[in-house]
Point group: C2
Chain length 198, copies 2
DNA sequence: ATAATTTCTTGAAGTAGTTCAAGTTTTTTA
DNA sequence: TAAAAAACTTGAACTACTTCAAGAAATTAT
């Protein structure tokens, strides 16, 4: 009973890893012994601007976001993370420099938080995971490039429709003003787009 | 004589790799036997929109850029790559899908072009390189996040000054209209910023 | 259920940028 | 070294968005 629950807890991460590489049963054991699931309450932060980011978060349930507060005091979402995404500030993580970002739960979430020393220890025991993290990062970078392309080439209205066509359920799930800032326009303008007043 | 030249050819990539991981002499031999340097002439393309991107390029000399052509027929630069950067379309590379981008030499350049089958063969012989590519991709993603932050929070003029303070030599090196599109404003507006007419 | 808080909407006024078109300067090519 | 091509500049007219302020609706907490 305990074991079954234990295994189920990490199913999402293990399944995600096994999309890209295959693990031996012994490696799965090692991984499971090192992982633990944390619950993050809605609006709780796992990273604040100015802190060094020392942790990678795998989202197994819920939704997180990375945001900044601009010079006018308004929050601007740079990145959302949902089930099966990793979220962290890689620059702060690698360079041990204070982060420019906040990372916060948009809704109550479950994450696997991997501290740098733990992760490095896992990578020494299962070097093949380097490949997994390589692929994850390369795909994330590719997605960031596409995001910049969309920001450059589409009008605000086009960005909204494109995004909500691709993620219809997501648009229901999170506050509009977060999506507006993610798409780089004001919450007021988003309201007008939705009302067809533009 | 031959050997010395041969080694010198790949110095920049080997040095870059050894910033992040350490290689055995035998591994260096393997690498050198698999690499070759290509010269790309100014304005020559190594990737065209619609092609599947099957190659990663390490820039050992010169400057490359990734760009799109927008709906008005204007080129918009999404990414520059200079000495010691990798450039590719990771999404097309991983998913075997047609690329959205052009990759072109801004000035005559020397690159180490690694085709996917060659690279995969190298990674099997030197698995530790997975870690190198992981770190490269994670840092690139971190840089992309900062880029989005700057696009979101700074005015056109601030972006221009920020960029030219960080890269004074670079601004001399490449045409202004490419920098303007990289910073997401028009070439005309950049001209006015530089003239102090704004 | 009620109050408190958060999120969304609306219109009016303002502005940071774009677009266009034409001319000038610089760089490249033959 | 002349001609052609590429890159840069300028001003005038325009527009896609922002900002502000106030109220309405939805959600959350008690």
């Amino acid at each position: 009973m305990y074991i079954i629950n234990h295994i189920q807890m990490y199913t999402s991460l293990l399944q995600h890893i096994e999309k890209f590489i295959s693990l031996e049963p012994s490696e799965i054991d090692v991984l499971e012994s090192c992982l633990n699931l944390s619950k993050i309450k809605k609006k709780e932060h796992v990273l604040q601007e100015g802190q060094v980011c020392n942790t990678m978060y795998f989202i197994s349930k819920g939704c997180m976001r990375q945001y900044i507060i601009n010079s006018k005091g308004v929050e601007q979402t740079l990145q959302f993370g949902i089930e099966n995404w990793w979220i962290t500030d890689y620059l702060s993580y690698h360079n041990h420099t204070p982060s420019n970002f906040y990372i916060q739960a948009v809704e109550s979430s479950e994450v696997i938080a991997l501290e740098k020393p733990t992760l490095e220890a896992i990578l020494i025991r299962i070097p093949k995971l380097e490949r997994y993290f390589k692929i994850v990062a390369q795909k994330a970078f590719g997605a960031a490039q596409m995001r910049i392309k969309f920001l450059f080439t589409m009008s605000a209205e086009e960005r909204y429709h494109h995004f909500s066509n691709l993620n219809p359920e997501f648009v229901q799930r999170v506050p509009q003003y977060m999506i507006a800032s993610y798409l780089d326009f004001s919450a007021e303008f988003m309201s007008k787009i939705r009302a067809g007043k533009v």
